[in-house]
Symmetry: C2
Subunit: 269 residues, 2 copies
């Protein structure tokens, strides 16, 4: 069984800092590279890390706040300059296409590849992508704009005893950013190998955290504990907290097997 | 007399590399910070360098290729989140406003500051900004899309002997990116203290260079020599050339007082 690999391209929140860029991750699962969110600078971090943009298979955008999608136009334009031929599928809220089309028409007129937008309904749990080995489901979240996470499952087919087949999941990765603490997601992410849950603030900032509809490190860890996940990865750090070990310490009190998302690092699971 | 300072935020060309981000510079002149071009990641480099975005006075965009303007939306959105009140003036080709407006309307509805677009005609030399101490003129360039450089002059008023005043330039900085080699700019940039001239390729790539309407390091240096400038700064390096000292060596044969633009560095002049 091939391992899954997650590469952190950006682990900050809305305001970039000296140590954090906006959100972006690459999940390598079953020989495919899925890009999850694409804040400004995602293609720059990829270039710094020597990751070829040509290997990207498709793109999932959790919501349309700028720190999760302002890097898309640059990335799509670079793919065009590099002569990509393979279509690029983008799974996102329907407004994304409306916002990007005029610029794509202006900048990528001579594009050799097709961009196919798949509008998703972030409010409803649904399978939005499925092939022979990977399935992706939405995870409805609670944020100030429509927002969902994504559950990636490596699946394999097993005889069902009646001449047919059922899909059995192997590795599973759940991505949950941005959200208020909500126990509604626990059943969806239960038992995943790796859960990424945003942790924008510390408990000391709980009031502000609720106002802007984010989670604290302790809340992320509580979800991990209640859902009995294998590992918890936290990120989307507020610019107000300089020392990220404060997030780690707060989370590990609740759920010891917690990791900090650090830009440029890869996690195998 | 206050020194002028130029900070390099990005010195690469269209394709980002492990060492180069797209174009962006800050010119500090007479207590004002002018942003010149704004490729993707400009606000991220500013954050890494600890430069406050709030200090930006206004913005000049040479042309609408993505590596010179894809960072604008993120920057303007960050300024909005930071509560900027002071209007931001953007000097660029008229199409920029058409392209950005739908996204600004979507992302910055609650903006407290005004963005004022000043359409410029890149084909005509003209004064596009003037206050008590600084004047900015366009420098028509030859590129695959309408493109102009900018000549920044610190000016002071001197009696003209007839009871009036004339403006006398002190420090002058000329920014020329992107362009084919063109001697038409020599008269405009003659004698400036610092000339930035793009140097995307080396002479060994002269044919490709002409096709994509850029300049070589030797050509940039020839302009500097013929215009008798104080110092030459080169940048906008192609991703094909890994070792930037090759650009420097080629330019210095023609014009010894040449510097390489390096991201994160500041030049005083």
């Amino acid at each position: 069984m091939a391992n899954a690999r997650l590469t952190i391209l950006g682990s900050g929140s809305a305001r970039p800092t000296f140590q954090n860029s906006p959100s972006g991750q690459i999940l390598d699962l079953c020989d495919k590279s899925f890009l999850i969110d694409c804040g400004e600078g995602v293609q720059l971090t990829m270039a710094r890390m020597g990751i070829r943009t040509s290997r990207l298979y498709n793109i999932f955008i959790s919501h349309l706040h700028g720190d999760h999608c302002f890097g898309l136009l640059g990335l799509l334009s670079t793919l065009s300059m590099q002569g990509r031929l393979q279509p690029m599928h983008i799974y996102a809220h329907a407004d994304l296409e409306k916002l990007l089309r005029p610029q794509l028409d202006y900048y990528c007129r001579d594009m050799n590849y097709e961009i196919i937008f798949h509008p998703i309904n972030p409010r409803k749990r649904a399978v939005i992508f499925e092939d022979r080995t990977v399935q992706v489901e939405t995870i409805p979240l609670k944020h100030s704009v429509p927002c969902c996470g994504f559950l990636f499952s490596e699946t394999h087919r097993q005889p069902d005893g009646e001449g047919g087949f059922i899909r059995v999941p192997r590795q599973r990765y759940a991505y949950c950013s941005d959200t208020l603490y909500t126990e509604k997601i626990i059943d969806i992410v239960r038992g995943v190998d790796l859960l990424y849950h945003e942790s924008t603030f510390l408990e000391a900032q709980a009031k502000l955290c609720r106002t802007v509809m984010h989670s604290t490190a302790a809340q992320a860890a509580t979800i991990a504990l209640k859902a009995q996940v294998g590992q918890l990865l936290i990120g989307h750090y507020s610019a107000r907290v300089i020392d990220h070990t404060e997030f780690l310490n707060e989370a590990q009190v609740v759920f010891p097997n917690t990791l900090l998302a650090r830009e440029g690092e890869t996690i195998e699971f």
